[in-house]
């Protein structure tokens, strides 16, 4: 009897030992696999960042280093002067002001109009609401290029493609690329905000209504203060979209005075086809810098936005 128990005990211990050995083998295998994976991913990442790193490094090279064979990977003496030269070759300061004015108007218009419309679609009941919401989602499928030409003719008829200013300060040409954003023509952002607003308890709103608050007051005093994350997401995305846009500015912004950074960089590229690469790289790096800063500070809004909507970037 006792020997049987003894046997059983030995057997159990052996199995346990075996299992432990197996586990530790598995763990070692897993650890080494993770190390291999880490190395592979680091190499892939460096490859991925290659063009960007090359751009930054080349922006600081002397011209002789740019065209040296074999290739010089890092500049010997960083030429910070490249940046000053590049950004004064064309009036880039003016382009930057234009870009930020347009982006500012776009962001404010998008956030305001999309939140107002999203409020209507999420918390008010009115006939035809579902139909119009379906229509809104449908416009997401519409390629930009289909309305490109008729919109141009429309804005031309309105006189917005001519030189001139609004209120004496804002170039008339800015209107075609900003006004549509004040009319909630970003279905994705309306959708995003609607989803968020739906999660805010109705009781809050009803109580405010009882107290005699108007819908506008409810939206601005109750809903929006509770919706900071989604507002940040929409603001970041629409800024990026406006800052990176090329086609609309190309079509509407007449005259170098009205250009954005994107158009300035393109003009520089056309002139500099052969010669001053270091200046072109410096200008490209400078144009990248603002979005990079925003990306670093607002990274979680990017990821949030993409994860919940499946869109983002360009």
């Amino acid at each position: 009897m006792s020997t049987e128990i003894e046997d059983l005990r030995v057997l159990k211990a052996a199995t346990r030992q075996q299992a432990a050995a197996h586990r530790s083998r598995q763990a070692t295998l897993r650890r080494s696999w993770l190390i291999v994976l880490q190395i592979i991913m680091t190499l892939v990442l460096i490859t991925f960042l290659g063009p960007t790193l090359w751009m930054v490094s080349s922006s600081l090279k002397a011209r002789t280093e740019i065209f040296a064979i074999p290739m010089v990977w890092l500049p010997e003496n960083p030429q910070w002067g490249n940046y000053i030269q590049a950004l004064t070759l064309l009036p880039f300061a003016k382009f930057a002001v234009n870009t930020f004015v347009i982006a500012g108007l776009t962001v404010v218009g998008t956030v305001l109009s999309c939140s107002i419309v999203a409020y209507s679609f999420s918390r008010l009941r009115w006939p035809g609401r579902d139909f119009f919401f379906a229509l809104l989602l449908g416009t997401m499928m519409l390629p930009e290029v289909v309305t490109l030409i008729p919109m141009f003719i429309e804005f031309r008829t309105l006189g917005w493609t001519k030189p001139g200013t609004v209120f004496g300060v804002l170039p008339l040409n800015f209107l075609p690329i900003t006004v549509p954003y004040w009319l909630a023509l970003s279905p994705l952002y309306v959708f995003l905000m609607r989803q968020f607003f739906k999660g805010i308890p109705m009781e809050l709103e009803e109580a405010a209504l009882m107290d005699g608050a108007s819908r506008l007051q409810i939206l601005f005093r109750i809903i929006l203060p509770l919706s900071k994350p989604v507002i940040a997401t929409v603001a970041v995305f629409s800024f990026l979209q406006s800052y990176n846009d090329f086609l609309q500015p190309l079509i509407y912004l007449n005259g170098q005075d009205n250009w954005t950074l994107a158009l300035g960089l393109r003009a520089m590229n056309d002139v500099q086809q052969t010669g001053q690469w270091e200046l072109l790289f410096a200008a490209s790096t400078a144009v990248l810098l603002p979005v990079l800063l925003i990306f670093i500070f607002a990274q979680r809004y990017f990821v949030q936005g993409i994860a919940t909507t499946g869109f983002g970037g360009r």
Binding site: L37, I40, M41, V44, F48, L49, G50, P51, W54, I69, P70, M71, S113, V117, Y119, S120, R125, W126, R129, L135, T139, L142, P143, V145, V146, T147, L148, I149, P150, M151, F152, I153, E154, R156, W182, L183, L185, V190, R215, N244, L247, L261, A262, L265, R266, N269, L280, S284, V287, L288, V291, L292, Q299, F302, I306, A307, G310, G312, G313, R314
Partner: protein
């Protein structure tokens, strides 16, 4: 009785007020939709039947623009280029972004750094991307030939050789898969842990679990990414305008560049509208077709 009546009146008044407020608050979109979506679309249908250079009066030409859009060699070449680009770029993009997402959901260190790094190319302004990649592909001083040289590949004339220009564009598109990757990462995070554990207990290896559990559960997102990637890649425009201006020998003349040229350089507003509608019909048709085919391979949880 009086009280009941009054409260009923009150309710209908409140409801009417909510209706009015609903329309008012949706107003920006309703106005925007009619002014900048519906009207332009109708207007461009009318334009398709006109010959108009914006200077004189529009002249009615019947179906001539449409006929030209369907038979013109250059327009067909542009369509072929866009289709070729999409056909090769999209599947490989999906494989790369899915693989990266799988790797970045493993327990490796500094995952957020990797994710940010792979996402970065998406946020770089498209003009800067085009300017830099034009240099990446440069035959003498470009980084691509330099790196390939390490592996003994002779230097290539990427953007100047008609046989290599489209492959070069396809190669460049692999760089911009950050959005797809983030979507895949989000999806992989939602796969129930119990399911993976169960399959492991049943003795399935990693690879087996990948093909029997992970990929089937991810098909909705694969489908989604595929549809969006196809729509986007049919709309590629800026790189071809800046890097090659459609050349060499129209090998990178994509549909949108062709539309842009006809509209804003040659001022054939009617013909450009016909080309735009052709693209629209193709993209929508393709999307609808994909939804039909998707029943066969996309797995939706009941």
């Amino acid at each position: 009785m009086m009280i009941a009546n009054r409260s009923k009146e009150r309710i209908t008044w409140m409801r009417a007020r909510e209706w009015i407020e609903g329309y008012l608050f949706a107003g920006p979109f309703l106005v925007g939709f009619f002014a900048f979506v519906a009207f332009p679309m109708l207007f461009s249908i009318w334009l398709m039947f006109q010959k108009w250079d914006l200077l004189g009066e529009p002249v009615f030409v019947g179906f001539r623009n449409i006929e030209r859009a369907l038979t013109d060699e250059l327009a067909l070449k542009a369509l072929y280029n866009s289709a070729f680009y999409t056909l090769f770029a999209v599947p490989i993009q999906l494989v790369i972004s899915f693989t990266l997402a799988l790797a970045l959901t493993q327990a490796i260190k500094l995952r957020s750094i990797y994710r940010a790094g792979f996402y970065l190319p998406i946020i770089i302004p498209i003009v800067a991307t085009a300017v830099v990649w034009q240099r990446v592909f440069h035959p003498d001083f470009g980084i691509l030939n330099e790196v390939l040289g390490i592996f003994g590949v002779p230097p290539q004339n990427w953007l100047l050789d008609p046989n290599l220009a489209k492959p070069a564009f396809i190669f460049m598109s692999f760089w911009m898969i950050g959005r797809q990757m983030v979507i895949f990462i989000a999806g992989l995070g939602n796969i129930p842990v119990q399911l993976m554990e169960a399959s492991q207990i049943d003795g399935a290896g990693k690879l087996r679990s990948l093909f029997t559990i992970t990929i089937p559960l991810m098909t909705p997102l694969i489908f989604y990414n595929m549809v969006i990637a196809i729509i986007n890649s049919f709309q590629t425009f800026v790189p071809s305008l800046i890097m090659t201006d459609g050349g060499p020998q129209n090998e990178t003349l994509f549909v949108v560049l062709n539309i842009y040229r006809n509209g804003f350089q040659f001022f054939n507003m009617g013909y450009a509208s016909a080309l735009a509608w052709e693209l629209f019909v193709i993209v929508v048709g393709f999307t609808i077709a994909q939804f039909y085919v998707s029943n066969k391979w996309v797995y939706y949880e009941a």
